[in-house]
Every structure is written in structure tokens, then in C-alpha cells.
Symmetry: C2
Subunit: 278 residues, 2 copies
């Protein structure tokens, strides 16, 4: 059962938050949806799923990205899930980069995380089914995200190229198996066998992609991003894109950092990018 | 001395935060400035001052309004002060609607508030002098705000009609002497003599305005705003506007509430409104 917990008019459309008991994560999950003006059962709209980064909830993007004016104009719904399971019974960690707020969009295989930390199934299967059953949307889906959520968006699109028309990311962790954030998360959620990590690594997935599964991608990365060298490693994806001739546009931006100020500067371009395929 | 505490590229321009020891409020004050792309000593830009509402700092508008794309396009700088003096030595109150975060843009006359709570002088005199001395801006100023800050913007413009080219407000407290928020703040900051309150009440100031001091105003108010009936009382200003034939456009919006989702929906229109006069 969906429980509506807020409903706010914005840019002629509506921003609404819901909670529901999720079967994939075995806890109550909150998500937010933006419905553009005119969306109705007789005028269904496509959806851009937005995956947020470390520490975020469904609220960061919705409050700070400044996306609604363009999404309203283009007629695109936006759905933002939380970034992890939550609750007193959900294992957590005292650091910001693991546990609650840091689900990394994988299905955990290791105890005690494997009961709740199944964000991959939640985002890929449970949430879209719920959205398509309860809201005036089509089955056309794009996926986008920021940082850990940029990893999630690219990785999920690469693993499910028929389910999404396009994918985009701001400041994504493109090669989690080769950076401290990813190594910490994957070793705890997936265990020590690094072969299992490859299934959630965008660089590795893109290396294995076959041309008929290619889908359009756009990546924007700030050059003044403090996490670029150690965690994000955009150049690793760039090398694979070149090697595979993958249709991914990678835009480097002088002066921009890792914050929502960067996202707000280019979110309209991402919405227009997805609109070409939705 | 201005101390820079953050500098972030956004929409081709820069968002920067500073602190300085303020002589009007006798404490360290933080403010934020957005400088549009191309602003320089040889290409100075006009400024829109933004006054925020109860509980806010300089950050709420800058993070949530989605104003930078349009401000960049129009070449308008935006300056957002804090909403009160702050610090351990600054008298506070346990409630959200008085004390720190709730300066109401007046000069307090009552102890213990009269030492620090001089936000009127800070916003009208000290801050603009500082901004014009240290940043590539012209002396052309518009003023805008939300809720308590909407009260501040309209009141300050009415008291200083030669200093600002235009004023605008979202969801303003238009008649603070006749609402609980205003009565609480004014009785504590200004004392029991209600004659002294009239000097900070937009309805009362507009009643006394002479035609040569009229300046263009724009007010936007959501009809689903929970504070409309008890605190904001837009209809009181509407009556004075009609009586005086004051050039204030008041737009009521069905369905919108008191939040930044409302502000983000119409901030572009406010920037374009001010641009006509800046």
C-alpha cells in the first residue's frame, strides 16, 4: 500500500512523496515523484528515474536540482527513490559512505546486509512496477543520477539496456571496483570474491556490452570536483567508451565541483537529452 | 574584513559565501552572493537583494530557488543576507518565530534585543555599502523576499523608495502589526507602544506613501498557503493598493503553498520583473 505523505504544487505540476513497505528491501521505503502538468490516465507521460548520491534521500534532487520547469515543459515525470533501506532494524555504519544512505544500488549477498540492502532489485523491478501501476506514466523510462547514483544509473542501464531508452550521470563513480568508496561498499555488501563485483561496475559492464545493446548515454563531470581523481575516475570510462565506440557523450566542465550547484547548471540539458529518446 | 568561506561555480557564474564582523548587529554575519557570468570591474551588474523567511539563513534561497539560470541570462547579481544576528552572545528564543532566524528586518529598541537585532540597518545600509565596495556591481538595486523576508522587502522598499528600483515578494507578511508572528516580534523588539510598530508595517507605510515615491511592486501568493489567513493577510495589502492606486501587481495562485517549490515556480518571473527597472 502506498501512503501519500506530501503533495505540493510546483511549476504547474505536482511533487508528491510516498512511503510503502518494500518486498525487496524488507522495510518501509520513501520515494518522491514529480508529475508534470497535464499528466493523466488519458495523457500518460514517460519517467526519468533519478538516483542520488551518498547521504541523500529522495529530497536532495527534488529540492535543489531546479529540474521542474524544464520537466514540466517537456512533459517528463521524475521519480527519486531513497539511496538505501532505512530503519532501526536496518544495519548501519557510523561513516557516511556505507550503510544507510549508501546502498550503492546493488543486491547485497553478505550478512547482515543481504536482508535489506537490495537496492538493485528495488530500483530495477519493484519501484518501476509500483510507479506504473499507480501513476499516469508510460513504460518508457530513462535513468539518471549523481555520484553514487551516477554509478547506479549507468550500471543499471548497462545491465538492462532494453528497459531504459537512455542514461545520464553527473559526477558518476564509473569504476567502483577501483576506488575507495566502491571497494568499501562492495567488499561489505558483496564479499571478498571480486568476480562478483564486476557485475556492478560500469567500466566492466561496458567492456562486455554488445553493439545491439548500446544505449545513448550522457555524462557531465566538473573538473574542480574534489572527488574526481580518487573516487570518480571519469578517465577510466572514457577509455572504454573510446575502445568500444560506445555512444556516450562525456562532457568535462572547467570550474564546477561535486555539488547540486553543478547539477542545477546542466539538469535542463540532461532532460532534453532524455527527451529525444522518451 | 570580508572572509570568503565558499566559492562554487553555478550556471556559468559564481556562488560565494562570506562572513564579516557587522557594525550594525555587533556580531559576525554571513551572506551569500551570486555573480552572473561576465560580471567584472569593467562590466558591473545590478543587484537583487533577497530576504529570507523565518528559520532561514543565506542558504535556503541559494540552494532551493533555482534562480541562477535566469539571473545568469539577465546579468543580475543576487545577494542573500542571513535573517538575524547569530552567535552565543545573541539573545535567542526557543521558538522558531522569534530570536535567531527571525530578525524581522527591524531595528530593535528593547533590551536585550537592541544591541544585536538591527537587521534594518544591516540590510538597508551596511550590507549594500559592503557589496558595492567589494564586488563588481552597480548601485542599482532591487529587493525581494519570502514570508518574513517578503515583509522585509516591501517594507524596506516603501521606506527607501529612492534606493530601490523595484520590489517583489513571495507570500509576504504584509501587515505584521495585525498577525501573531508580527505582534510577537514587534512587541519584543519594539516594545508595547504600537505607534512605533507602524514604521515597519507595509500596509501602514503604503497608506502614507505619496505618488512620487511609488515604485513598481510584484507580489505572488499561493492560495493553498497554510499561513495565508492567519499570518499573511494578502487582502489587507490588496485593499491599500486599490485605495492608493499603487503600482503593485498581486498574483494569487491556486494550489501553491508556502514552500520553496512555490518560489522556484515563479522566481524567473520575479527576475524578469526587476530586470525591466534595473
Amino acid at each position: 500500500m502506498l501512503e501519500n505523505i506530501s503533495s505540493t504544487k510546483v511549476s504547474g505540476g505536482w511533487h508528491k512523496q510516498y512511503t510503502h513497505q518494500a518486498s525487496s528491501t524488507h522495510c518501509a521505503m520513501r520515494f518522491a515523484i514529480f508529475l508534470p502538468p497535464g499528466a493523466s490516465e488519458t495523457n500518460k507521460v514517460p519517467v526519468m528515474y533519478w538516483l542520488s548520491g551518498l547521504t541523500c534521500t529522495d529530497e536532495n534532487f527534488m529540492q535543489k536540482a531546479g529540474a521542474f520547469k524544464k520537466a514540466a515543459e517537456l512533459g517528463i515525470a521524475i521519480v527519486a527513490p531513497d539511496t538505501s533501506p532505512r530503519g532501526e532494524n536496518v544495519p548501519d555504519d557510523e561513516n557516511y559512505d556505507f550503510g544507510q544512505g549508501a546502498g550503492f544500488y546493488v543486491n547485497a549477498t553478505q550478512a547482515p546486509y543481504n536482508v535489506h540492502y537490495n537496492m538493485y532489485d528495488y530500483v530495477v523491478s519493484e519501484l518501476p512496477a509500483l510507479i506504473e501501476a499507480h501513476f499516469p506514466v508510460t513504460s518508457k523510462k530513462a535513468i539518471a543520477g549523481h555520484s553514487m547514483g551516477g554509478h547506479g544509473a549507468l550500471m543499471i542501464a548497462l545491465k538492462n539496456p532494453k528497459q531504459y531508452v537512455s542514461a545520464s550521470a553527473f559526477s558518476p563513480i564509473v569504476n567502483p571496483i577501483n576506488c575507495p568508496w566502491g571497494e568499501k561498499a562492495f567488499s561489505n555488501y558483496l564479499g571478498g570474491d571480486k568476480a562478483s563485483w564486476l557485475e556492478y561496475d560500469s567500466c566492466e559492464l561496458m567492456k562486455k556490452a554488445i553493439a545491439e545493446d548500446y544505449l545513448p548515454m550522457r555524462i557531465d563531470q566538473g573538473e574542480a570536483d574534489n572527488f574526481l581523481a580518487e573516487q570518480l575516475k571519469t578517465e577510466h570510462l572514457f577509455a572504454v567508451v573510446n575502445e568500444k565506440d560506445y555512444p556516450a557523450e562525456i562532457n568535462m566542465h572547467a570550474g564546477y565541483d561535486h555539488s547540486y550547484f553543478f547539477i542545477s547548471s546542466f539538469i535542463d540539458e540532461h532532460l532534453m537529452f532524455h527527451q529525444k529518446y522518451l
